[in-house]
Amino acid sequence: MSFALSVRNLTKTFDSGSRRLTVLDDVSFDLDDGATCAVVGPSGSGKTTLLGLCAGLDRPSSGTVELCDERLDALDEDDRSRVRGQSVGFIFQQFRLIPTLTALENVTVPLELRGERGDNEAKRLLERVGLGDRMTHYPTQLSGGEQQRVALARAFINRPRILFADEPTGNLDTETSDRVEDLLFDLNAEAGTALVVVTHDLDLAARTERILRLKGGRLVSDEPQSVRENEAA
């Protein structure tokens, strides 16, 4: 079985005045295709930095990331975009819908970037997330939960091999969160997509197969679901 994501000795440092800050320190892990994992840790532990590096949004100071069989360090910015466009889906805490596009148009963006039309698939996905009657609405006309569901539809439209979710329920109330979480895991299971969720929410993390704990930039534990189940038992 191949890895959807393979991280080796990943380190990220910043120069802050005369000091050098290490925000991520020698992190390594692999994620199988179709597997799910959560990255948890306190604020400032390096979760978002790790996500950015894994998705090729940023460059590491040292170490390598292999995303969907592509070594990211060997690619330039546009090639990394191409990889994301072909194989990666995103869910953001702030939803990040494009305010000038309707719900339907927001969902089709990843396909249109590849020069494909995907209206029917987009409509199907919007129906699937329960927004069949809100397709022509603009983001400002939708509630937070509805916006995040549009973002879910957008994340799955290009049938990604891996999905990165950055605090996907961080801006939602509990009830809405539950619905979005259900949809996230259902869609993930249906599509067989690998999933990396960065979150503070331990309930959400518990729904993944594996939890990576970060502290002070270091990976302090990497627990598969079975271990946690045993501990719980």
């Binding site: 978002t48 996500l51 950015g52 998705a55 949004l57 940023d58 910015e77 546009d78 975009s81 191409r82 990889v83 994301r84 466009g85 072909q86 990666v88 995103f90 953001f92 805490q93 990040r96 819908l97 494009i98 305010p99 000038t100 596009l101 148009e105 963006v109 990843p110 249109e112 970037l113 590849r114 020069g115 603009y138 400002t140 957008r154 290009n158 950055d166």
Partner: protein, 842 residues
Amino acid sequence: MAFSSTFAWRDSRTSRRRLLLFVASAALGVAALVAIRSFSDSLQTTVTEQARSLTGSDLTLHSRRAFSDEAVALADSIARAYPGEQAREAAFASMAYFPSTDGARLTEIRAIEGGYPFYGEIVTTPASVADSYQQRGEALVDASLLLQYDVSPGDSVRVGQTMYRIAGAIDEIAGQTGVGSFVGPRVYVPLASLDSTLLGFGSRAEYRRHFRFDNADEEAILAEIQPTLTDLGLRSDTPTEAQEDWNNALGDLGRFLSLVGFVALLLGGIGVASAITVYVRQKADTVATLRCLGATAGQTLRAYVLQAAVLGLIGAVLGAALGVAVQTLLPAVLGSFLPVEVGFAVSWQAVAEGIGIGIAVALVFALLPLVRVRRIPPLRAIRQSAESEGGMDWLRLALFGLVALGVAAFAWVQTGDVQATVGFPLGIAAVLGLLALAARGVMAAVRRFFPSGWPYTARQGLANLYRPGNQTLVLMLTLGLGTFLIATLWLVQTSLLDQIAVTSGGEQPGLILFDIQPDQRDGIRDLVEAQDETILGQIPVVTTSLAAVNGRDTDDIRQDSTSTIPSWVLRREYRSTYRAQLVDSETLIEGEVIARVPADTAVVPISLEADIAGDLGVGIGDRLTWNVQGVRIESEVASLRAVDWARVQPNFFVVFPEGPLDGAPQFDILLTRGGSDAEAAAQLQREVVRAYPNVSIVDVRLVLNLVQGVLGQVSFVLQFMALFSILTGLVVLAGAVLISRFQRIEESMLLRTLGAAREQVRWILFAEYLLLGLLAAAVGVGLALVGGWALSAFVFEVPFVPAWSGVLVALLIVPALTVAIGLAGSKGVLQRPPLEVLRSAG
């Protein structure tokens, strides 16, 4: 490309109204260019079509002297060889006297025999009298003159000793400018009945023979007779030459005005750049998200460039349409400078060029901020603080280079002059650089010396000038440059007029009487003194020509192709005087002024004006031989003088000492104070003209009024074009207000949530716009004072007189407009309840 275009279209939907001002910024400059270019094109077409009405003939031969027997023989031989029509004319300045209202004025007399003008019409009231006035021995008089002296057709006008019945008023003459009639109103009389004494000694008439050929090519005829013309001292005019002259002059005017219009377009470009800067800032999150979703830097850049291009196209097309509309106003603005009535015709070439230049400017200026889109990191989608890539952006640098090259290229296409090509972009860069420097200085100074004792609202308004995302720089550039252009024009105009007024005040003459014959000297003196008039001087004038320089014949020098002496200096007629000392418009540079020598002195010591001495290549001790009405007089340069030609009084190249010319044929010029007021001056003119009809009188006051009028019209044309810059500045201001609306909405919402009253928010905005307007006006006017001084001192060489009233007007109007537009654009911000704003901004 498919994604970029689809996205560009969809993304623009919600911001189209905001982007409208982007369009408007570019539109006004394009309008100015298209209006000028299209008008200029139709003008040149009209001039070409009506070329023959410019001269009124196929060929005109003319001379400053009466046609010699040989010249008459040549004219007659042309008429015999090429069938058609022939007319004779003598044109000169002389007084016209209207007995019915007792008015007199110096006019341009055109005494004609024959059917001239053969082409183009003299439009008269009543109609068609131009065809019959010669047979009836009547006169045609400029309508403006009749109006001025309250005279009507049917009344009389006296020219010299001859009284004419006025057959009609001249409303318009094809091929002649309105300004021409303004300066020298025309009186047409039959040559046959002209008082011949008017053409006597001392008159400055021009003699003309006009030809119309049935079917001959005047250029071929001219080529054939050219050598003879030169020998006989005759000059020629043909429609082709006149058309070329006019096309050159009008082309120059069009090109100059195009440069002024181009400045407005560049200002629009700055407006575009500022609007797009804010736009890019607002789109940063969208761009980062797109990059996360797989968009390449090129795809996102293309989408926004496409938006800018389409908006630029719309702006340019709207601008071109507006330009065509403005074109209909231009005949009224430029009318009195034009020889022909210009029909309205759209020049599609001008429209296409305007649109092309408009799109190019909009696109390049939009690209300056847009290329930053490439550097927005995708990481920003998950981390707001993610910064754009640093380092030198070579593409942006190349774009700045492209702007500089584009401006230079435009200047080159317009002027074809290397100096202008280099100077125009440098000049614009210098002014913009100074404005930018002033803007940055002001921001730094406000921050450094912040008046913490001011009321809260004023402090907030002031702080807005340097807060992040402020519009201070761009508004200082656009409003400041507009103010600078208009104020500079105004200051220079005032200085020029002031100089003329100074020159004509005090001990300067008010009336100058020309052509006084020796036997009229005493009579006129008596008459002037009887009117209680002060005589400031009586100057004898002797007409001479140059026969030899240092013993070498002038004809010989003219034939010599190696000679550097300009031909006109050798051929011209020198009106010289004799007196014992210099006058106050003259300064001795070198040598000694000889007061008097015996009449029979073999070599007369003369004083020569320094510039003409330079042209002739002579200095102290060199010999000049003069032909004084057939008598040769040998002279030696004894002194060189500088002459202030700007003084309204007779000045001379050559001053002889008293003695040798006392008995030569001469006439006098009499300078008088010109009465205590206009009525006294008019009274004196009437008395003189009644008794001595051959004497011409220049009323200096009238000349000043004319100069003022012409300068006023020239400056009106320039200010009309500069107006586009001011308007563009205001549009950019409106754009800046509108585009930063969201930022303001957020700020005002926060302030109001924290308890600020609507009135307080309004005061904060008022303070900000007032300060911006005041600063832009102050810097613009400040630079204009420097520019006006430099132009006055170095170009026009007149003392700089700052017109403080105009400065004050600019300092009031610009801030007032800024506040009005700023508050009008922010109206919606204040009226919406905080909660609604909170929701829509979220």
